[in-house]
């Protein structure tokens, strides 16, 4: 397995270089270093001297990919792309264009993002699987059909609606929880209750439908009939046999997103005033802060690759036939 993991990590390097290259090209296609300087300086009258000083400080006065003024290998290495990319591969995110330490900011924002994303993920997983199993238990019944209609209805409504409706109902009208805000530790529980509940509810429709279809594929298999023939109750059949056998496709969809939970949710965090990572990238794009954009794209790519590797590893845990 170790050899497999090392191989996958080595595969990741060209992927990350490619992602970084695309980020550079796309960003600088839209924003020139002069534009970035103007946005960062925020002055009413931005003079060429101010722009030049800012670019020099940030290293944006260097050519992007090829330095004609340098000699030898430095033509390629003494460029913005190589300088910035090398640092990224050492997980040195450096300072943002507004002079804040990006690694510190990410560290500070990850906690609040996880405070919402992790409980939402876990509760949603358990709830969706449980409800899906329940519907499989009552498959073909009025309950099953009604639940499927409700699931489609839940899926059809925008997540933003649930957020606003939830805030109006539970915070504004019934005064159960604060409408927005965040505290760390136990004091923060009342702030995360509503976003977590909304997150779980909003994902209920699609989650239950998907898991139900997975379990329905299993329910008519021979091994299920055998289990029933042994006299097992339906509950025992579902939890001891159907669930473990349905885990493989579930893992494919679930494990891959675990690392990206760190990245937070843009809309949820914005509406609930959660100081997480959700809006970090979008804010950086709006502020033309390239240092943050490249760091976050890189981090997102790394986490996605980690997610894929974890998925492969998790297969071996649930299916002994799979070896890496």
């Amino acid at each position: 397995m170790l050899a497999y993991i090392i191989k996958r990590i080595l595969y990741a390097i060209p992927i990350l270089i490619g992602v970084n290259l695309i980020t550079f090209m796309l960003f600088f296609m839209v924003n020139t270093p002069d534009d970035m300087a103007r946005a960062q300086l925020g002055a009413k009258q931005t003079t060429p001297a101010m722009i030049a000083a800012w670019k020099a400080e940030k290293g944006y006065d260097k050519p992007l990919f090829y330095n004609t003024e340098a000699s030898g290998i430095q033509k390629v290495t003494d460029t913005l792309f190589v300088n910035e990319s090398l640092k990224l591969f050492m997980f040195d995110f450096g300072l943002s264009d507004a002079n804040r330490n990006i690694a510190e900011d990410i560290k500070a924002r990850m906690g609040p993002s996880l405070a919402i994303a992790l409980p939402t993920f876990l509760i949603a997983l358990v709830t969706n699987i449980s409800l899906a199993l329940l519907l499989v238990l009552f498959r073909g019944s009025v309950l099953d059909m009604s639940a499927m209609i409700v699931a489609v209805m839940i899926m059809s409504v925008s997540g933003l609606f649930y957020i606003i409706a939830g805030q109006v109902l539970f915070s504004k009208l019934w005064h159960w929880v604060p409408i927005s805000g965040y505290e760390s530790g136990w004091a923060g529980v009342k702030f995360v209750l509503l976003p977590v509940a909304i997150g779980v509810f909003a994902g209920l429709g699609s989650g239950v439908r998907w898991y139900r279809s997975i379990f329905l594929e299993q329910i008519n298999q021979d091994y299920v009939r055998t289990a029933r023939a042994k006299g097992l109750s339906e509950i025992a059949v579902l939890f001891r046999h159907v669930l473990p056998n349905g885990m493989l496709p579930i893992l494919t969809g679930v494990v891959v997103i675990i690392p990206s939970l760190f990245m937070g949710s843009l809309i949820m965090e914005s509406f609930f005033g959660i100081p997480g990572l959700g809006s970090y990238t979008i804010d950086a794009i709006n502020a033309q802060d390239f240092a943050i954009v490249k760091a976050m794209v890189f981090l997102g790519s790394v986490l996605y690759i980690v997610g894929l590797i974890l998925t492969d590893i998790s297969y071996t845990l649930f299916d002994p036939r799979v070896t890496l």
């Binding site: 839209v30 924003n31 020139t32 534009d35 103007r38 300086l41 925020g42 002055a43 009413k44 009258q45 931005t46 003079t47 060429p48 001297a49 101010m50 000083a53 800012w54 400080e57 300072l95 507004a98 002079n99 804040r100 330490n101 510190e104 900011d105 500070a108 924002r109 609040p112 329940l134 238990l137 009552f138 309950l143 805030q167 109006v168 915070s171 504004k172 009208l173 019934w174 005064h175 159960w176 929880v177 604060p178 409408i179 927005s180 805000g181 965040y182 004091a187 009342k190 702030f191 109750s233 339906e234 509950i235 914005s270 509406f271 609930f272 005033g273 100081p275 809006s279 502020a287 033309q288």
Partner: protein, 727 residues
């Protein structure tokens, strides 16, 4: 069985009473709510809190409370008036000729102006680790080791904190910092034109900074002197500027000129601290009424009363001054009382308007603006267009505070453009016709909920040179009818179009319909209605308007290079002087001639206007100056380089427990004047936020029933299966 039921009923009743007893949705701890704490919000995190760098209202709302420049605006007086803040009196102004001899203000021999500042002797900085010194005078925390840095996450982690008196040298130090290019002060290039030899100093110190920063060495500016800035003694500072520039004093009310202690500058230059986001850009060190106790820009900013704040009292006004300024008796109740009133201010980040508005209604914010979504809920517009609070707001004891901002939003013609620009009679008439056709009253009604005043020229209300009534009316666009401004009819505009060579919008030269291009950054779906409205205004004259929507960078580039015909822009006053608005039309500031650095984005150049501008620039407010301004306004109204859009009106709502709230667009240090009644606030919050229990009980009952129903269905199913199998 009965006893069991009675017991459960009691438990349930007790539980219900307990649930009812407390407020659940409070976003702050009870002790904070009951304390003398102000709760407010900010919509975007401040990026720079370094006073020489920051030039943003979102940042100044914090910096203004922390730093103290020499002057401030009187909180209550209108028109805006400067007064000493850290000075014993207003600065002494001395005019000098080439030989350094004192000359009269009106003398043509004036070559320099000397400002002499005499500082108070009770000014002291907030507590800060940078002021803690070793017995030899060196900074105790000036050379932090890796080991020491490991235990430091914020300034509170330093075991010792200190303070010291503010001296004149600290004010000089701020000017020196401003000159260092690497600190990116947005006003350096402006100040170089005025402060004697600041340009040379900047070049020298920037070179030195480059060298030192490259070697990882700190830059101690005490060793350098700006020729135009002289520290006479601990309490006296002199700044010498070229020629006459009366507006210089307004700059002295801005944070750029607040004192910077050298200890803090050196302390924050330590790399280890910068890597922990601890810098002068994030942790200001000032002598103001408050200090920054917590800076979590993505969540919360907390200001706490500075224990070393000097003696300052709430201002008073004479009856006449109060009448002129529109100040009520209630606002004068605290006159003479020591400032500040509030102990702590907590600002939370609220990116969305809905949570902010609802928290305000719940009493968790002491004041709020009015978003367009909440406008109808908060404001009633009378038949005559007058604004008042809705009944719901009145019942809550909410007050409305409104004022016209010293700002202008306008649509500019690029005067360098061959079609809409130019200075011939025909070209003027085309612009005048378009100006008449743009129905600003309709725009303000549809898109601003009446929150604006149609502009008559570049100078907004509250600024010297703005005039009310017929005298202040733009005769090119409006008629004065029975004491009211009435926009000229479309017939007048059409006649002007014909005289301009475009009868019915058709060019006499080409026989084709006149097509104009409007550049905008309004690219979202919400902007469609606005763009349709714009097209409609031009269509009234038979002109086809082509909207060229683009991103902000390209838009700016087009404006800089003069590759636009029409575009909308705005300006907020830096200081309350007509020069700060009229220079937007001064020929030497034309954007195309200054590589984008000039602020005359319409590229308007009229020699007569420019001559009058130069004359007006150095005059003090007087009838003579007003006469010059009137001449200038007459010229620009005729030339019509802008469609004079509107002066925005700000509306704010404040709760009944929040006192001394006065709109003052120029003053940034207003927190110290405000007062709250925390007892009243707490009581109201308890009444307004009592939790509604019945839905919770219903939800619990529904869930239990569902579980019971599913369980019963499962059992039935199991028994049916067994029966089936047994059959």
């Amino acid at each position: 069985m009965q006893a069991w039921l009675a017991k459960w009923c009691m438990v349930l009743s007790l539980f219900t009473v307990l649930l009812h007893a407390a407020v659940w949705n409070a976003p702050y701890p009870v002790e904070e709510i009951r304390g003398n704490t102000l709760f407010s919000a900010f919509s975007s995190p401040p990026k720079h809190l370094d006073p020489v760098r920051s030039y943003n209202a979102n940042e100044w709302m914090f910096l203004g409370q922390i730093y103290e420049p020499p002057l401030q605006y009187n909180y209550l007086k209108k028109p805006y008036a400067l007064e000493p803040l850290t000075l014993t009196q207003m600065p002494q102004v001395i005019y000098l000729d080439d030989n350094e001899s004192v000359v009269d203000v009106k003398s043509p021999a004036v070559k320099f102006t000397l400002y002499r500042f005499r500082f108070r002797d009770d000014l002291a900085y907030q507590n800060h680790p940078a002021f803690v010194k070793n017995p030899d005078g060196s900074l105790r925390y000036g050379n932090l080791t890796e080991k020491a840095l490991k235990t430091i996450r914020s300034l509170n982690d330093f075991p010792k904190q200190g303070s010291r008196r503010v001296t004149a040298a600290d004010y000089a130090y701020a000017v020196k910092r401003m000159a260092v290019r690497q600190y990116h002060s947005p006003i350096l290039d402006t100040m170089m034109q005025y402060i004697v030899r600041l340009r040379d100093f900047s070049k020298r110190v920037t070179r030195e900074a480059k060298r030192r920063f490259a070697n990882g060495e700190p830059l101690d500016l005490r060793k350098f002197e700006v020729p135009g800035v002289k520290v006479v003694d601990d309490r006296t500072l002199e700044i010498r500027i070229y020629g006459k520039y009366p507006q210089f004093l307004y700059w002295m009310a801005m944070n750029f000129f607040a004192p910077i202690p050298w200890e803090a500058d050196l302390f924050y230059q330590q790399k280890g601290l910068r890597q922990k986001n601890i810098s002068l850009d994030t942790q200001p060190v000032g002598s103001g009424a408050y200090y920054l106790a917590e800076n979590s820009p993505n969540r919360r900013i907390r200001l706490v009363r500075n224990p070393h704040f000097h003696l300052e009292r709430y201002p008073g006004l004479t009856v006449q001054e109060a009448n002129t300024s529109g100040v009520s008796k209630q606002l004068l109740r605290d006159s003479g009382k020591r400032l500040p009133f509030i102990d702590e201010a907590v600002y939370s980040l609220e990116k969305e308007s809905i949570p902010l508005w609802n928290k305000f209604l719940q009493g968790y914010y002491d004041a709020s603006g009015i978003s367009s979504e909440a406008f109808n809920q908060a404001v009633q517009i009378g038949s005559g267009g007058s604004m008042g609070l809705s009944n719901m707001m009145k019942q809550k004891g909410i007050r409305m505070v409104s004022s016209v901002e010293p700002s202008i939003f306008y649509m500019a013609f690029n005067m360098a453009d061959p079609v809409v620009g130019g200075y011939t009679e025909k070209q003027k008439k085309l612009r005048q016709a378009i100006s008449i056709a743009q129905d600003q009253e309709e725009y303000i009604s549809i898109f601003l909920n009446e929150r604006g005043v149609p502009a008559q020229g570049p100078i907004p209300p509250g600024i010297f040179g703005y005039e009310e009534g017929k005298k202040g009316t733009n005769p090119v666009v409006y008629n004065w009818v029975r004491g009211k401004r009435v926009r000229k009819s479309l017939d007048v505009a059409k006649k002007l179009m014909a005289e301009a060579g475009y009868p019915g919008g058709i060019s006499e030269k080409t026989g084709k319909r006149l097509k104009l291009y409007y550049d905008t950054t309004a690219t979202g779906p919400d902007d469609r209605a606005l763009m349709d409205w714009r097209r409609k205004q031009f269509a009234k004259l038979g002109i086809e308007l082509v909207i060229r929507a683009t991103d902000y960078n390209r838009f700016q580039e087009k404006v800089r290079k003069g590759k636009v015909q029409l575009f909308s822009w705005g300006w907020n006053a830096d200081y309350p002087d007509p020069e700060n608005f009229l220079f937007l039309l001064y020929g030497k500031n034309a954007t195309v001639d200054t590589d984008g650095a000039g602020i005359n984005s319409a590229n308007y150049k009229n020699p007569a206007f420019d001559r009058l501008f130069q004359q007006m620039q150095t005059m003090s407010n007087s009838p003579e100056r007003l006469a010059v301004i009137e001449k200038m306004l007459k010229i620009v109204r005729e030339d019509a380089p802008w469609v004079w859009g509107f002066y925005p009106k700000s509306l704010a709502l404040v709760h009944g427990w929040f006192h001394n709230v006065v709109p003052n667009a120029m003053a940034n240090n207003t927190l110290k004047y405000k007062r709250i009644d925390p007892v009243q606030r707490y009581e109201k919050q308890q009444v307004w936020n009592r939790p509604v229990i019945w839905p919770l009980l219903m939800l619990a009952v529904t869930l239990l029933m569902l579980v019971w129903g599913v369980r019963a269905a499962y059992r039935r199913r199991q028994s049916r299966a067994i029966r089936k199998e047994s059959v």
